[in-house]
């Protein structure tokens, strides 16, 4: 693999833990530093499972294949260690943590990312949080609300972007970030992501989406089509347009025509 690679997945197979139900059937994917990749595919093709497997969800079991993150074996790390190593998963359905303020939650998370358990300076944290919220054009009172509790779909997704902005991952996996958003909310979220990638051109992004519309706002370098648990085609942004026009019909029987990564 090249030095510029951040993530390299080879022959990845995974199933639901405790069940004999394979979902990923041999995923190959390589993402370079600073690249934006999109994975598209029909419902049930395994897109979200791939995202969860990368983040270390305990509900899935990897049965075969390898995942290298910055050249190291990602699969031997626990979920919290993966986050600390620089992987961020923006959830399709962010989870509610009632009674815990976003500020408190983020402070704990940022503390967990400190090298060698160094104590986080609370004033410094507060300044950074304010700065990040301004960057994303968010009202600072947002940080006092309880994590995702009673949030609209748009607020939940913006909260994910705020967390991403605070944790500054090397690779952000965004799982159907566009689902459940109206066009205005989608633009706000996309603009947040673009702000972060402009700020840190080395950050890589894996966008998982159903629809072309997110890709109108966040332009991918590569687009992959996933069907039945593996990537069946890869190409430039034109692949997304083609899919939008033709749909996924016929893909499930199609042979892999992936043109290499």
């Amino acid at each position: 693999m090249s030095d510029a690679s951040i993530l390299k997945i080879e022959g990845l197979e995974a199933k639901v833990a405790d069940e004999d139900l394979p979902i990923l059937t041999g995923v190959d994917l390589e993402i370079g530093k600073g690249e934006i990749h999109a994975i598209m595919g029909p419902n049930g093709s395994g897109k979200s499972t791939l995202a969860k497997v990368l983040a270390g969800h305990p509900g899935y079991e990897v049965t075969s294949g390898s995942v290298l993150f910055q050249g190291s074996n990602l699969l031997e790390l626990e979920a919290d260690e993966r986050s600390q190593a620089g992987i961020f998963l923006a959830f399709q359905y962010p989870v509610e943590i009632p009674g815990v303020s976003i500020a408190n939650f983020l402070r704990t998370a940022v503390q967990a990312h400190q090298a060698d358990g160094e104590e986080l300076d609370i004033f410094e944290f507060s300044d950074i949080l304010t700065e990040r919220m301004e960057l994303l054009e968010m009202d600072v009172t947002f940080a006092e609300r309880h994590v995702n509790d009673g949030f609209s779909g748009g607020e939940k997704k913006r909260n994910e972007i705020l967390q991403m902005a605070m944790l500054k991952p090397k690779l952000a996996v965004m799982d159907e970030t566009d689902s459940g958003l109206d066009i205005d909310a989608l633009k706000v979220v996309a603009s947040g992501v673009n702000t972060l990638t402009e700020e840190d051109p080395e950050m890589s992004i894996l966008l998982i989406t159903h629809y072309q519309r997110l890709l109108d706002h966040i332009e991918p370098d590569r687009v992959h089509v996933m069907v039945d648990g593996r990537i069946v085609r890869s190409g430039g942004p034109e692949v997304a347009h083609q899919l939008e026009a033709e749909g996924y019909r016929g893909w499930s029987e199609a042979d892999s025509i992936a043109d290499g990564v």
Binding site: A55, G59, E78, D80, V95, P98, G99, V100
Partner: protein, 471 residues
Amino acid sequence: MPQNETIQDLGLDEYKYDFVTETEPVFRAEKGLSEEVVRQISAHKEEPEWMLEYRLKALDVYNSKPMPKWGGDLSSLEAVLDEIYFYVRPQDQMERSWDDVPDEIKNTFEKLGIPEAERKILAGVGAQYESEMVYHSLREEWAAQGVIFDSIEDGLKNHPELFREHFGTIIPMHDNKFAAMNSAVWSGGSFVYIPKGVSLDTPLQAYFRVNQERMGQFERTLIIIDEGAQAHYIEGCTAPVYTTESFHSGVIEIVVKKNARFRYTTIQNWSNNMYNLVTQRSMVHENATMEWLDGNLGSKLTMKYPSCYLIGEGAHGEIMSIAYAGDGQHQDTGGKVVHVAPHTTSSITSKSISKGTGRSTYRGLCKVHKGARHARSNVECDALLINDTSRTDTYPYIEIEENDASVGHEASVSKIGEEQLFYLASRGIAKDEAMAMIVRGFIEPIAKQLPLEYAVELNRLIEMEMEGSVG
């Protein structure tokens, strides 16, 4: 790591103040409950004749009532009671100042952080050591305002009329078996009177502590908030761990008069062998407000249902409670609101956490009597289960005799879910910290009502017990 292993180690039930200080009691009555013991208690306290008669009558009532068949398991309680000393008095004299308190007792208090707490914001500290108030102070300006904050014994001695007018009127001896027991052998507790129109900004605080093996503690508290007055009373309490079973049965009587406002806050963290059976009730008069804030940790079995009798028009009652049931513990708690007068309002918010084989029960009553027109009440009880072996039950009794009452009830049961833990893990947060965060968040609506240092202590207790729990 298996999830259960992590969760098992949450360990809030492991008692924080596990130490015992050697103190020789000056006087200790014989084991068990008898007329002789009751007479000795009364004689020791140099009580008026009416109180001795009251105690003896209460003993008859206690003996005539069967053990309750509802609530928690009391099947082994009678054997426990036979082995209990119903009265232990550590000192002959009430201490006037901190300097006079014996060193051994001071050491115990110091381990609990009381002098430090006092230095900060505590105004009047009534510290109950074993059965007696040994240290009691009250800020001078309060005294100047006519505020009374005494031990219950001094209340009887120094304010006999005020005492007799209210004592036993809110919770009569016949109310229940353990109220009768307390009425027979009560010892220690607070007597508080806030005069008309007096408003206290700083809470009154009483610390007390059970520190004698096989000793029962029967604190009795009587609080009278006169018209238009406002106050907050806080009672925090801890007990050391013993191997034999122990028993606590308090009676707390509160009168909140017209336009007055009162809050009673308790955080109790009993050792795991304690039977904790407490009756606490308030009479709330016209346009007055009563708030109970009740936190129950530890004990083998707690049965406790703070109640508000809304007897004056426009009276408001509020009950907020947190219960934590660890392995082998049963918290049978809740609240009672009784609407007697028109336009009365009430709310009950109950949060329970059950861990391991712990069991929490919400048991509540909302009663709207005939004539209590336009009553409004809302009950919300939420249970959080940590393990598959944890248990929770809900018994909301609702009795309504007026058709324009508005009564709401919501109950929820949740389990710390894999998705919540994964969400926090995906932000780099380790499992023990994630668990602590979820539990803290769950109790936050009530914890935020606590004075800051209590909220901090509660949170710290949760954190401390979870530190290093993931191996």
